[in-house]
């Protein structure tokens, strides 16, 4: 399990994020979970995700989150 999966699992331990293609649409994360996720990603990777990037499409699956982190120079 990579760090992003670990962070997601800490937020919603009852779900398996690897089997979901859209965390938001399938109800694994709501808007407040996304806020918690951003806070955890900021802290873990030493970045500050810009508020304008906090949109559902950037947090809907692992690939989207990885792409967002890459924008902030995070090499996974």
């Amino acid at each position: 399990m990579n760090s992003i999966e670990q962070i997601l699992q800490n937020i919603r331990p009852e779900f398996d994020f690897r089997t979901s293609s859209d965390f938001i649409e399938e109800g694994l994360l709501d808007s407040l979970d996304v806020v918690t996720l951003v806070s955890d990603l900021d802290r873990t990777y030493g970045i500050s995700i810009d508020g304008v990037d906090i949109l559902p499409e950037h947090f809907c699956n692992l690939a989207a989150i990885e792409a967002l982190l890459a924008k902030y120079g995070v090499n996974l």
Binding site: E14, S31, L32, T36, S39, S48, G51, V52, I54
Partner: protein, 364 residues
Amino acid sequence: MKFQFKDKRIAGILTILPSHEMTFLEEMENYNSPVNRSIKLKETMGYDRHRLVKGPVCVSDLAVHGLEYLFQQDLLRKDDFDALILVTQSPDYLMPPTSSVIQGRLQLKTDLFCMDINQGCAGFLIGLIQGFMLLDQPSIKRVVLINADVISRKVSPQDRNSYPLIGDAASITVLEQSEGAGIIHANLKMDGTRREALMIPAGGFRLPSSPETAVQVPDPDGNSRSLDNLKMNGSEVFNFVQVEVPPLIEELMETAQLGIDCIDAFLFHQPNRFMLQKLADKMKIPYEKMPSNVVEHFGNSSGVTIPLVTALNFRDRLFNKQMIVCFAGFGVGLTWSAMCLKLGPLNFCQMIDYPEPAIAPFKF
């Protein structure tokens, strides 16, 4: 839209907070959410405790309590102001205006301009702009601006999106003419196409309250609310603030010909700590210049949060000294507004409680 005001000042600020306090931990079991998830949310958003009215306490009760305090302490004279503006989203009645209720309860003079403004989180700025415009009239020497809301009465306790952050409060801000006070710059924008991002769907004439509108309905996130309750699209509001507020501040700074480093404090509306820190990061404002400690102590009381963050953090300093501050409010409407001005020394800058057990709510 840009505004400019000359020779006007804020003379005093008083905040009035209900003494009844509830903590996030006490209310956590109301939410359809596992404990660890709620705790993480508490830490991220800065939720801890909030002040709420109990029972039938209304906006005019908080306002009258505050004005009586100012009269008793001789900080304001009953016949020494010419306009009373009340900004609220939770009026005592649909009619008459609650400003008239306050005027009548305190037996204020009839030669008084009273008006209600229906505004929320940008309501302090809207009130200041309106108040300063009134001060351009030679007959108006002093304006009392009241911001007050008891919106917790319209929020479902089972709504994890809104209830933990909501607070009730009132503030009284005295505005007056002041020769040599200099220029105050402000700007304001509104976008009614996004009006449904923050709304109470029922209770007006479009959809009157009824047994049907009172039915609690669960949403996909596990929150439960009725059409009589506040409904907030958290993602849309968050994105609105992050997209619209930084350029608004930039425009204001350009107009005022000031840099970020010239401002002593950015006193912004207080939705939650996370949103404010993201704004500060974006605008490269040090956190210590943008306090975000209102929600954790008192909750988000709409238009009152700017006077509240001012009094909470700077009441001693402002009693003796002058600061250059930038106010900003953003929310329902959608509305966003900012103002840059010299603040202080103030005649008063205080916080008082509304002691609910001791004062019976007003009866018609």
